[in-house]
């Protein structure tokens, strides 16, 4: 049994090579930290080269020293009316650096949603609603997402079911996931839906829309910028030295978070989740390391995106607001990945009925929204389980009157217990499979008997964890830093930023975790 016909048809339709027939790894790879075998200082023994991606990340030499200065120079030299073109062009180069052919996919999405938006407005002037254009946009955008993100998962799951009944195996080559497709697909969808609902005006020019879809600072890992929040800025935004300065501070803050905390603790988290025999103490250390890593990695990226946006005159939405200081899971979701949770709220939870259709329906809507939110993060049962887990706690807290079960305890205890619940969630999120997550929970809860595995703990992990803890629980947020922009924070940040730059030279390739979502 083969699905090659379907694949072939889709390819003909799209005329886009998807990497099928290549080595089969999905990119970007969260663990691709190793250098190739030819590093200058490598021992002369040849080694088998590890598979690597080449995404032009913010924390890379090529981006920092070549792309960014050149882009900023061109951006500020050209007349204002050309700046959106410069952004679009620069974004295509940024995005196409990884795989130029996937830019075509973005162009299709851009042209389609621009056309759909225009047709919806045109239909409205004729007294119709333009529903078919909305459906076309939803169908094509979600179709892309389903194919590129969930095709492998679907076939693998079917094969697993067939294997249970000794059935045939579907043969297929892996589909490569285009970086950031989840983010820009949601953004273009938000435009069409907002125009359809009348929440947003039709975009003034195709140039602005290209700029909106391709906007490289937030293109590949968010924050998800909805059209109606940025529409005004697309054609009239201010450029001031003060804004640029604040952007630099935000960018620097993000880079420090990413390079000096997230990446350092990432090696520990990788080791923890690769070991199935960890002692309970080390399992906890590994889980905490990942909890820190995902926050600093993702919020670091968001900070850099916000900073780069400010440098070119944009103000993006805030994505994190000290989430680990939350006193409940409900509050956690108001502080974590805010742009996604508000997107899911407005485009999924509320259309499903929100909390206006009775208690049971509210719980169902909450659970469904979180399940889909989990699936959005990746094509794996672990993400679905993570979504279900988050939905479960949201429902529980809703049942308890929008407060946690431990609401009667002191604030510090509430914060601690919420943090523990979040850690359990991240274990599900990070594990390769449900089985390995179960194994990890066994280690955390001392259920694995005589497990003695240890993590390669090094002094630098302690330093990074301590710094991370201070930032999480005691430092002001990045938005506070940007707003105040005072010298007492800006100058120490410079030292940390220089250290991060040197560290960047010291280590090699550092992809962001959220590129894969």
């Amino acid at each position: 049994m083969s699905v090659s016909f379907f694949r072939h048809s889709v390819h003909l339709l799209l005329s886009i090579p998807t990497g099928i027939g290549n080595c089969g790894w999905m990119v970007p790879n969260r663990n691709s930290g190793a250098d190739g075998p030819l590093a200058r200082n490598c021992l002369t023994f040849p080694c088998p080269p590890p598979p690597r991606t080449s995404d032009l990340v913010f924390a890379s030499g090529v981006f920092l020293y070549f792309f960014l200065p050149l882009f900023l120079a061109v951006y500020y030299v050209v007349p204002k009316r050309w700046r959106s073109f410069v952004i679009a062009g620069g974004s295509y180069i940024f995005y196409g650096w990884w795989r130029p052919d996937f830019v075509i996919l973005m162009w299709i999405s851009t042209v389609l949603d621009f056309t759909c938006g225009r047709q919806i407005v045109r239909a409205r002037t004729k007294g119709a609603k333009g529903k078919r254009w909305l459906f076309l946009s939803i169908f094509v955008n979600l179709g892309f997402l389903a194919y590129f993100k969930y095709f492998n998962f679907g076939v693998d799951s079917l094969n697993a079911i067939f294997a249970t009944f000794d059935g045939p195996t579907l043969e297929f080559a892996k589909v490569i996931l285009p970086v950031g497709i989840s983010f820009y697909t949601f953004q273009t969808l938000s435009y069409t839906i907002d125009v359809y609902k009348g929440h947003a005006e039709q975009v003034r020019s195709f140039r602005d829309f290209m700029c909106y879809v391709a906007l490289f600072p937030q293109l590949v890992a968010g924050p998800i910028v909805r059209y109606n929040t940025i529409a005004e800025q697309l054609h009239s935004r201010t450029h001031t030295l003060d804004k640029f300065y604040r952007g630099v501070l935000a960018f620097q803050s993000g880079m420090v978070k990413k390079l000096l905390i997230a990446d350092v603790l990432g090696s520990l988290a990788d080791a923890a989740f690769a070991n199935s025999d960890l002692s309970p103490t080390h399992a906890w250390l590994g889980a905490i390391a990942y909890t820190f890593q995902i926050y600093f990695d993702f919020s670091g990226y968001s900070d850099m995106a916000i900073g780069l946006g400010l440098m070119i005159g944009f103000r993006f939405p805030v994505n994190f607001d000290q989430p680990y200081r939350s006193l409940s899971i409900t509050e956690f979701w108001r502080r974590w990945h805010i742009s996604l949770s508000s997107f899911l709220r407005d485009y999924l939870y509320l259309p499903l009925g929100g909390n206006r259709s009775g208690r049971i329906r509210t719980y169902v809507n909450l659970s469904l929204t979180m399940l889909i939110g989990g699936l959005w993060h990746g094509a794996n049962w672990t993400f679905i389980a993570w979504g279900a887990y988050q939905g479960f706690w949201l429902v529980v807290e809703r049942l308890a009157g929008k407060k946690p079960l431990y609401a009667s305890t002191p604030r510090a205890i509430q914060m601690f217990l919420t943090f523990i619940l979040v850690i359990f969630g991240w274990v599900l999120f990070r594990s390769e499979s449900i089985a390995s997550a179960g194994q990890y929970f066994g280690s955390l809860l001392c259920l694995t008997g005589d497990a003695t595995g240890q993590l390669p703990l090094r002094p630098i992990h302690g330093v990074a964890a301590l710094a991370g803890a201070l930032v999480i629980w005691f430092a002001p947020t990045t938005q506070h830093l940007i707003h105040r922009a005072c010298a007492s924070w800006a100058l120490p940040l410079q030292v940390a930023f220089w250290a991060a730059l040197i560290h960047l030279h010291f280590v090699s390739h550092v992809p962001f975790l959220y590129f894969q979502f």
């Binding site: 090579p17 930290g33 250098d35 190739g36 075998p37 030819l38 590093a39 200058r40 200082n41 490598c42 021992l43 002369t44 023994f45 040849p46 088998p48 991606t53 080449s54 032009l56 030499g61 200065p69 650096w97 990884w98 795989r99 030295l241 003060d242 804004k243 300065y245 604040r246 630099v248 501070l249 935000a250 080791a271 080390h282 103000r315 993006f316 939405p317 805030v318 805010i338 742009s339 595995g453 240890q454 993590l455 390669p456 703990l457 090094r458 630098i460 938005q479 506070h480 707003h483 922009a485 005072c486 010298a487 800006a490 100058l491 220089w498 730059l501 040197i502 030279h505 010291f506 280590v507």
Partner: protein, 628 residues
């Protein structure tokens, strides 16, 4: 504070600037832009020289450059790589930072593991992928066995010296959380010996003598103590008693040598003078009965081939001392063993060939050689060795050829634009123990262009460049176990040749041999399923090194499954057992009972408990034992 009602980042509309705040802002902006632009300017205007690469690394980079394309991101990767290695700023700032990280945080970068007590290990040598049952070691043993046989046919005895990994011998010093699998290294020696390769067991020896340290702490190579112990053990193993060595000089341990070690260099770390470094004084003097021995002699009867472990150090002199004779040292740092052997054969074939070669090779080469055969260059020079240094006497087998010609009319000139498979051996056509005894002899006449002959068997692959004109290539057939991939013999255009015209004249299966003993097949009746046959060789048949038993299956028999071949000594004790999943009709069973070397051969029994085929009387028609 910090966000608008829409959730956007908030910027004060009338920022207050001036005084300290203004100065700070100016400082931040200027330094930020200066760093970005300045780094780019320095790296573009004053890039570092390209690193001087050799061997496999050089070829890897050349291939990477040739194949780089923008469309699949490989050009971008190449650009990033080239930038990294040519960045002067990176090179300048990395060194003091690496120093700082190592001295204060014991950080070593991604390639190194910092162990206890100052020990440093290469990460790739700790966590190796070998596969189930040390598959890599067993597979590579076939190749080493074929090399050993080829050398043997030229009258050269090879003593194979696999060096255990530092991380295995000193695993107690590994950092917490790092595990090393000793079984991989331990599998190398028995696998080699089963192929008839004389192999020194250094792992047991070194583990029994761990101190003084046999490896240097901050280097991936051995210490003088390691060299001395190895040379002494090799001489004893090979039966050399050496001279009356009352004077070797003294090996002293010294501290704070300032000798960085290659791992320090990889980390860009400047050695700390207070670091202990177990490295020995080079005060060795070899003295034989009062007469100084000439250590190096390019015509010596004893040759040491190997890698960086035997270059510019005391291993050569130690070998010379313990073997009691001069030594010809031919190291090829960073290259697999065949490069050294090939250099030696090329160099010495017009003069006098040595009688003994000490072939040093780190165990991880042997382990990974089998495991990563398809993407490694570890078989580098193997094909050239086999083709350039053919056995002196080749005997065409009386048995049907297992080669299946791929529809190519041999003798007719073939115009070649892409690769052409001229022959293949189907899985199950040769069932052997993994050793390469059966050879194929191919005569090729390259009339136009440049071409190469490639043998691909899934885990032993090698390439032979063909010269213009007549070529005779005799290659060992290292087929995979029955049931796995087929072996292919291909001709491919080389260099810039768009068109190649080749005439393949002869392709026969052959064996290099000196004498042959024929065996008589005796069939037994077995109760229940299956069948059993004994092969009776004349009483007193002595097994020599690389003796080879070949059993030919009748062309009219069916396919045979689950075969078991037992080789016993005269006392009836089973010494070696070979198992094969499948043998096609007309196929050959080829085994090298290396563990019986020097002993008298007893019974050879072939049996199968499989019910397929149901009746298989007389499945084998004749058996031969070839002696090298």
């Amino acid at each position: 504070m910090g966000t608008t009602l829409e959730g956007l980042i908030r910027i004060p509309e009338q920022p207050e600037r001036g005084g300290v705040q203004g100065l700070a802002a100016g400082f931040v902006l200027v330094t930020f832009l200066m760093i970005l632009v300045g780094t780019a300017a320095v790296d573009v205007i004053m890039p570092l020289d390209q690193p001087k690469l050799t061997g496999g690394e050089k070829r890897y980079l050349q291939r990477k450059r040739q194949r780089a394309r923008w469309r699949n991101g490989s050009m971008a990767r190449l650009f990033e790589y080239e930038y990294r290695i040519s960045s002067r700023v990176r090179s300048t700032v990395s060194k003091p930072y690496a120093d700082f990280m190592y001295q204060y945080l014991k950080e070593t970068g991604s390639k190194i593991l910092a162990g206890d007590d100052g020990w440093l290990f290469l990460r790739t040598r700790v966590a190796m992928v070998c596969g189930p049952d040390s598959l890599g070691a067993r597979r590579s043993a076939a190749f080493h066995g074929a090399v050993s046989r080829r050398l043997g046919s030229m009258g050269i005895r090879q003593l194979f010296v696999p060096l255990p990994r530092k991380s295995v011998v000193y695993r107690d010093f590994l950092p917490i959380g790092a595990k090393v699998n000793r079984a991989y290294d331990a599998a190398v020696v028995p696998a080699m010996r089963a192929q008839g390769v004389e192999t020194l067991n250094l792992l047991d020896l070194w583990e029994a003598n761990p101190s003084p340290y046999l490896f240097r702490q901050t280097d991936s190579h051995w210490s003088t103590e390691g060299m001395k112990l190895t040379a002494e053990a090799a001489a004893t193993f090979a039966g050399f008693t050496g001279p009356e060595h009352k004077l070797l000089g003294e090996i002293r341990r010294r501290e704070g040598t300032g000798i960085p070690g290659d791992i320090y260099r990889m980390m860009s770390v400047t050695p700390n003078p207070s670091d202990k470094e177990y490295f020995s004084e080079d005060i060795l003097t070899v003295d034989v009965n009062g007469t100084a021995v000439e250590v190096h002699d390019s015509d010596a009867d004893l040759v040491v081939c190997g890698t960086s472990f035997c270059t510019k150090n005391r291993f050569g002199p130690f070998v010379a001392h313990f073997f009691g004779q001069p030594v010809d040292l031919i190291p090829s740092p960073g290259k697999p063993s065949c490069v050294s052997l090939l250099r030696m054969l090329d160099d010495r074939s017009q003069r006098s060939l040595p009688s003994l070669v000490l072939n040093e090779l780190p165990s991880f080469y042997s382990i990974e050689m089998g495991r990563f055969a398809e993407r490694w260059t570890l078989h580098e020079a193997g094909g050239e060795l086999f083709s350039r240094h053919a056995p002196k006497k080749v005997h065409a087998l009386d048995t049907p050829s297992p080669l299946k010609l791929n529809g190519v009319e041999l003798g007719t000139p073939v115009e070649l634009r892409g690769r052409l498979v001229i022959a293949k051996i189907e899985p199950g056509a040769i069932a052997h123990s993994g050793g390469g005894v059966v050879e194929i002899a191919i005569n090729l006449d390259v009339q136009v262009g440049e071409a190469s002959l490639t043998v691909r068997s899934g885990y032993n692959n090698y390439r032979v460049p063909l010269v213009s004109g007549s070529n005779q290539v005799i290659l060992p057939v290292l087929v995979a176990q029955p049931g796995s991939k087929k072996t292919e013999v291909l001709i491919m255009p080389e260099g810039k040749s768009a068109t190649v015209i080749v005439r393949a004249a002869v392709a026969v299966s052959a064996i290099d041999k000196k004498t042959k003993t024929e065996g008589v097949i005796q069939t037994h009746t077995v109760s229940g399923e299956g069948w059993q046959q004994d092969v009776l060789f004349p009483v007193g048949t002595q097994l020599r090194r690389h003796s080879t038993i070949i059993l030919a299956c009748r062309a009219d028999s069916g396919e045979l499954f689950d075969l078991r071949l037992e080789v016993s000594d005269v006392s009836g004790t089973i010494q070696q057992v070979f198992e094969f999943a499948l043998l096609r009709k007309g196929g050959l069973i080829v085994v090298d009972p290396g563990l019986l070397y020097g002993k008298e051969l007893g019974r050879v029994r072939l049996s199968s408990s499989s019910s397929r085929p149901p009746s298989s009387k007389g499945v084998f028609e004749f058996a031969e034992l070839f002696h090298q």
